[in-house]
Symmetry: C2
Subunit: 226 residues, 2 copies
């Protein structure tokens, strides 16, 4: 039976398995962090993140791309300089989306494209890809990343999902659109252009982060424990 | 200065010039009707349309693709069998969108693609393309038609508009997606497959319908009178 796939913006319409896509940069940061941390705790609220910081946790986070004072950057490249048991992460969009998810959510980006697609097929016969967007607005980088993930899953799509796949037929146009996106331009202005280039890389990791009960771990870790 | 273009779903976000896109079939019906009627009056409400009918007006309309009893079909091919001063039209989605528009709206489809794009450039330095969708849901045929119109206008796009242009790079994939759309399948089941094929035709007319103060006339007619 064909896998059913739908695409949504900002909040899941259903209550089944989701893939959260916040390409620049929460998805990539979480995916990279799980090489060096056992788990990531996403928190939507800055106050809550600061509370974790006061308790001695390593905390990463930004608002509008700017790293919060005293925090590690929400950057896949920067988190590679740290190691530990738990990383707490608060970001403008992605962490808020995760908190609204009603069931398990995988975290998808271009870095783990095929791995997250394969995991979705393994876990369910139905998946909803949720674009984080930017402050309630459509973000082209999330739409294009979603399109590549959906093409990799290869199932029976709703029309929004199908539209995203049509938009990713030409890889060089996709890369160009991501580099020219508002998000990429803002990150470039803040000195994070290397992050943008890193986030565009396809399939550099097999990490599949799974959000469950407020924490994110690698799928293989969850399998091992449960 | 580059023309600014944005793409919206269901209701305009701004208050400037709009292009309403309801490819299957309100946009095409209105565009074709203006060859044979001086004006089209779009009404969102069936009761209001029936009131016009009782007064002796020619009335076309459908809900969910099914022609309302005693009405002409919302069909670009069928309206060509009639002629008159005024055609009243009520449809599931497009007429409702027009009633929510705050200023002038052009009616765009593939049939009048280049003509509507050129008219938009003439009238304003900013335009919002509004996809009608189907009962509040994203409709791929409107997204793809919007993408072709936006590509023809060729300006500075918001990210949603840019995504629609990326999706229409390959004409044969576009035609295929429109033919396989839920809307096209429903119309096919109701015996309107010829309408779908007609609506896919590009640039077969120079008609540019303009919605203003509750009525739709050809742009050249409005120019002549005002």
């Amino acid at each position: 039976m064909a896998m059913r796939i739908r695409l949504s913006f900002e909040r899941p319409e259903g209550s089944g398995l989701c893939i959260m896509v916040d390409l620049l940069r929460a998805s990539a940061t979480i995916t990279a962090a799980l090489d060096r941390f056992r788990e990531v705790i996403p928190v939507a609220d800055i106050e809550e993140a600061m509370e974790y910081s006061r308790k001695g946790y390593l905390v990463a986070g930004e608002r509008g791309g700017e790293t919060l004072p005293g925090f590690i950057a929400n950057s896949p490249l920067e988190v590679k300089n740290y190691r530990g048991d738990v990383l707490v992460l608060t970001t403008s969009n992605g962490t808020r989306i995760l908190e609204s998810v009603k069931s398990d959510a995988l975290v998808g980006c271009l870095n783990n494209l095929d791995a997250v697609a394969e995991a979705a097929r393994e876990l369910s016969d139905e998946v909803e890809v949720v674009m984080a967007g930017v402050n309630g607005r459509f973000a082209i980088e999330d739409f294009l990343c979603a399109g590549e993930i959906i093409a990799a899953i290869d199932g029976e799509m709703d029309e929004y999902a199908e539209a995203s796949v049509l938009a990713v037929q030409d890889r060089s146009l996709v890369d160009d659109a991501i580099r020219r996106s508002r998000s990429a331009e803002r990150l470039g202005g803040l000195g994070f252009m290397d992050d943008v280039e890193y986030c565009i890389k396809r399939n550099i990791t097999g990490n599949v982060p799974v959000y469950r009960d407020g924490r994110i771990e690698l799928m293989e870790e969850i399998r091992r424990l449960h």
